[in-house]
């Protein structure tokens, strides 16, 4: 799928979401009181986004003959992002379940390994003992430092 098709898909997705929000906004109760109703502003903006997104999709399709300068997103690139988002969302969920220290320690042990697995220029590090030793020390120190700054200094409670 080239970049133009990807951009068209994104524009159409934006248009669909905006249209859905516009319909929802039209149902916001409240009268104008000599001004505009609470529903007017979000409804108008959402319809404008929908219309402009469709227009952008059409413009993008018109120049989709391959001369686009933008590079398309690769399946591997999308895979990297989806995996990162899955692990990171799980981390946020885990903070609520297991507490900040356990979740952060686990995240800081898993995520650097994930980055090294994904990246060819970092993958070679996985075979080195020094990498694993540094990883454990890094995870412990970073967890302690973030805990110290936010929980002890700034009084954040998880």
């Amino acid at each position: 799928m080239n970049a133009s098709i990807q951009e068209t898909c994104l524009s159409l997705l934006l248009a669909a979401v905006a249209a859905g929000l516009a319909v929802t906004a039209m149902g916001i109760p409240g009268s104008a009181h000599g001004s505009i109703a609470p529903s007017t502003f979000p409804t108008v903006i959402a319809w404008l986004i929908a219309a402009l997104s469709v227009l952008n999709a059409l413009v993008t399709l018109r120049r989709a003959s391959g001369e686009g300068q933008m590079k398309a997103m690769s399946a591997r690139g999308v895979g990297n992002i989806v995996a990162f988002l899955a692990v990171s969302t799980a981390y946020v969920w885990l903070i609520g379940q297991a507490g900040f220290v356990v979740a952060t320690l686990a995240y800081l042990l898993i995520m650097p390994v994930f980055v090294c697995v994904v990246s060819p220029r970092h993958r070679v590090r996985l075979s080195r003992v020094s990498f694993w030793a540094t990883l454990v020390v890094f995870a412990a120190i970073a967890t302690g430092a973030i805990y110290g700054v936010f929980v002890e200094l700034l009084n954040v409670r998880f």
């Binding site: 979000p42 591997r76 936010f150």
Partner: protein, 493 residues
């Protein structure tokens, strides 16, 4: 005199320490390629929540100045601009570095950043009260028209496509409508989610759009081979070259004025400021042929102008409440978190705080000079921090920072979702700065439109008949037409 005493009283040791810490961290983050000044300020925003207003805004101003200046380190040593404002720095600083003059290039960059920042601070202090005094006469109609003008300038200058810029700006405006309506209390687009009753968390939007989206951009390219980031240029005498910069005072003054002027135009940003200043410097130089081959004047022009841009960008932000670009949008977020609404009334009601912000900006520039002087070698070493440690660390900082404001995990999930949106918008050329600016200006536009209509008994005519309001709307139309013309010409080419 009373204002002076008030201003002086605002500066506690904590405030001074906060400015120093902000400057240090700003340089640190700016020196990392790919982290913009807006992202640096966004990352530090949660820390300011527990600080008093002057310490909080001082930390953010320090981070803004530091990040812009720090962007020159990878530009000089790796030919890789740390921030967009350092693009023009690579033209001459990198050739200097490859010719064994990396230390001199760094020293010139530090000194010209300082001088540019100080000149723009002086202009900010002189010009802002005058603009604020005029803006105090604005009513609801003028504010509505001004917010439309601000948005139009930004969407027309921010990206290559007007349609995409408009979509991004409108997405921000739509986000500003979420939550309980301020007039009637009606719930708008909350989907029965209690966490959205007071609207979307500004911090979640800012961090999601600027920081998480940047992480996703880096992750997308993670599997691609990249040239090694090896720093092998020897650092000859890396100390600030103030004397050399002052010897070129005409050039420094001219490029600093260009930087401040461009910075004051919403949507223009550091890269335009430095490239315009570089171009001007080349035109007036006696040796234009040396530019691009390691001319010290090129480094002075780029670095003095990109730091002068910071002071310029603060002028519309403080006097009109209009953010000029991403980093100032984040700064406005920082002020709003502190319960301060920037705009002309701030000069009237809290003049001590305004002058405190001016002094904090001056101090941030002075501290930037010393932090870079003593820390230059440390910042160079920072370029070697492995990405596999940096990426997860930044995400944790984002998540914990966003959570810390309301102690609500919903905000963190919202930050992730907006990070994905921001990544997609940036990836396909829509831009993320217009979204945040739309979010801030959307609220201003709607509130003043409704207030204005109520005042004028439901009539729209005063928006078009009041001279200043009409002038803003005409200017907005001019920007729209100019942008349409540019888009048409690009499509034709």
């Amino acid at each position: 005199m009373q204002t002076l005493v008030e201003t002086f009283n605002l500066f506690s040791p904590v405030a001074l320490l906060a400015i120093l810490a902000g400057t240090f961290l700003g340089i640190l983050l700016g020196a990392l390629p790919g982290l913009s000044a807006a992202m640096a300020v966004a990352l530090l925003l949660p820390i300011t929540y527990g600080l008093d207003p002057i310490s909080g805004i001082g930390l953010l101003l320090g981070a803004f100045c530091g990040a812009v200046a720090g962007g020159s380190v990878p530009a000089i040593l790796l030919n890789m601009p740390g921030t967009p404002g350092s693009i023009a720095t690579t033209f001459d600083a990198y050739p200097m570095a490859t010719n064994g003059r990396a230390g001199k290039a760094l020293g010139l960059s530090v000194a010209s950043s300082f001088v540019g920042g100080m000149i723009s601070a002086a202009i900010l202090i002189l010009v802002s009260p005058l603009i604020a005094a005029i803006a105090l006469k604005f009513g609801a109609a003028e504010y509505f028209s001004l917010s439309i003008l601000g948005l139009m300038i930004i969407v027309s200058l921010a990206g290559a496509s007007l349609i995409k810029g408009l979509i991004a700006g409108l997405v921000g405006m739509l986000l500003s409508t979420v939550g309980a309506d301020q007039v009637t209390g009606a719930l708008r687009l909350t989907f029965d989610q209690m966490s959205l009753l007071m609207g979307v968390s500004l911090l979640a939007v800012i961090v999601g759009l600027f920081a998480v989206s940047q992480l996703l951009t880096d992750l997308e390219k993670l599997h691609e081979p990249r040239t090694s980031m090896k720093v092998d240029n020897a650092l000859d005498g890396a100390f600030p070259r103030l004397r050399e910069v002052l010897r070129n005072w005409k050039l420094t003054l001219m490029t600093s004025l260009v930087g401040t002027g461009v910075g004051a135009v919403p949507g223009a940003g550091g890269s335009i400021a430095s490239i315009m200043a570089y171009d001007q410097a080349k035109r007036v130089s006696r040796t234009p042929e040396a530019f691009g081959k390691g001319a010290p004047e090129g480094v002075i022009a780029s670095e003095s102008s990109n730091n002068a841009m910071v002071g310029g960008a603060l002028i519309p932000m403080l006097t009109l409440g209009i953010p000029g670009e991403g980093a100032t949008a984040v700064l406005i977020g920082g002020l709003m978190i502190q319960g301060i609404q920037p705009g002309p009334t701030l000069f009237d009601t809290q003049s001590g705080l305004v002058y405190g912000i001016f002094v904090a900006f001056l101090l941030a520039n002075i501290m930037m000079l010393f932090v870079q002087w003593w820390g230059i070698r440390l910042f160079v070493r920072l370029l070697r921090v492995p990405q596999h440690f940096l990426l997860p660390l930044i995400f944790i900082f984002c998540a914990v920072g966003v959570f810390s404001i309301n102690s609500d995990f919903f905000d963190v999930y919202l930050m992730i979702a907006l990070g994905v949106l921001g990544f997609l918008l940036a990836r396909f050329g829509f831009g993320v700065a217009p979204v945040v600016i739309g979010l801030i200006l959307g609220g201003v536009a709607e509130t003043n439109l409704r207030r204005g209509l109520q005042t004028f008994d439901g009539s729209w005519m005063p928006f078009l008949t009041r001279p200043i309001s009409l002038a803003f709307l005409v200017l907005a139309l001019v920007f729209l037409l100019m942008s349409l013309r540019r888009n048409y010409q690009t499509a034709k080419a």
